[in-house]
Amino acid sequence: MLAIKRLYGLIIALSVFILSLVFFDLLPFLEMQTEIATMNSAAISFESTYNLHKNEAAKLRVYSETIAPGTAEIKKIADFFREKGYTHLFSGDTLSYSGNMNTENFTELMSLLQQIELTKIEQFSFENPISLPIQIGEEKENTIRIQILLLKTIPIDKNLIGG
């Protein structure tokens, strides 16, 4: 019958016990504690970032609603050019015009431009070709030379706010 010294037997059994305790219990326990701490820390940071993202997206949605009337503004000016028969370029979010305009229509255009709040006047340049030019607010037969009028709506990337 196989037998070993009692002391050796005890040492072997205790060694197996201690090694098992270390490798199967203690190390996994410590690893789990570390992982849980890491995971919680990652989750806390993530949720904070998520809330920030939510707030930023909400802010952008509000801005999107705020600037929406800008489309109607630029369309109104495009309608003005169309009704008056001025050749202009309009692509829905950009309007450009260059050419001459009589003072009556020009006064109307200036009035429209004063009213806009959500359309950007990127470029606007005109001059009066005669020495004493138009009188604001009074109709007078004269022609204003508009070198460039470039209007744009305020752009927004709809993908960022989900639609």
Binding site: M1, L2, A3, I4, K5, R6, G9, L10, A13, V16, F17, S20, L21, F24, D25, F29, M32, E35, I36, T38, M39, N40, A42, A43, S45, F46, E47, T49, Y50, L52, H53, E56, K59, L60, Y63, T66, I67, M110, L113, Q114, Q115, L118, K120, I121, E122, Q123, F124, S125, F126, E127, N128, L132, P133, I134, Q135, I154, P155, I156, D157, L160
Partner: protein
């Protein structure tokens, strides 16, 4: 009666089966703690789900068991979320700038006509030139001709209105006096750099 140890010099030994049995007995608490650890981990995952519903929802169900993988996935999601936040902030800032710019330019144009309507019985105003290029220059040139006297009501009114608006401006004037005509040739430059 006398006790005599007949195996006095016998060496004390364990049978292999005894040693194996002893090992098995010693392993029982190890296994028990291992089971406890597994239960503990499940409890922690359940607590995690309750405490962080949003974070746990972005991680696939299967991977929540693997804690280190879960943390890595959460960090990756957070990184992409941060990139999106930057895009959102850039877009918001751009819209804010555009709204401010549109509002300001509208106000400046309005202040011109408002000034005119306030003094239209006193002065004649002739618009000579306007030049506006975003983020670069905004200048208006005009003539101001008072009906009576030499007080340039429009010039004063326009500059007063401009001073209530937030941008810096610079008005230059040149008097024109010819026979009975008193007139003012004025040029106003409004600083729109940075808008």
């Amino acid at each position: 009666m006398v006790n005599i140890n007949l195996y006095k010099k016998k060496r004390q030994k364990f049978k292999i089966t005894t040693v194996l049995f002893l090992i098995f007995i010693f392993l029982l608490p190890i296994i028990a703690f291992r089971v406890t650890l597994w239960t503990w981990k499940n409890t922690e995952i359940s607590t995690f789900r309750q405490r962080f519903p949003i974070a746990s929802s972005v991680v696939p169900d299967g991977s929540l068991g693997n804690l280190s993988k879960t943390a890595v996935e959460i960090r990756q999601k957070e990184t992409s979320l941060k990139d999106e936040i930057i895009k959102l902030q850039v877009q918001s800032k751009s819209i804010e700038n555009d709204i401010v710019y549109s509002y300001l330019i509208g106000n400046y144009l309005e202040s011109f006509s408002k000034s005119y309507y306030n003094i239209k019985d006193k002065d004649k105003v002739f618009l000579k030139r306007l030049n506006l290029l975003r983020n670069n220059e905004f200048e208006v040139e005009y003539y101001d001709i008072p009906y009576n006297g030499n007080i340039y009501n429009f010039f004063n009114e326009f500059n007063r209105n401009l001073s209530s608006l937030p941008l810096n401006y610079n008005s230059r004037r040149a008097d024109i006096n010819f026979l009975f005509l008193n007139a003012l040739e004025a040029k106003t430059e409004i600083n729109i750099k940075g808008y």
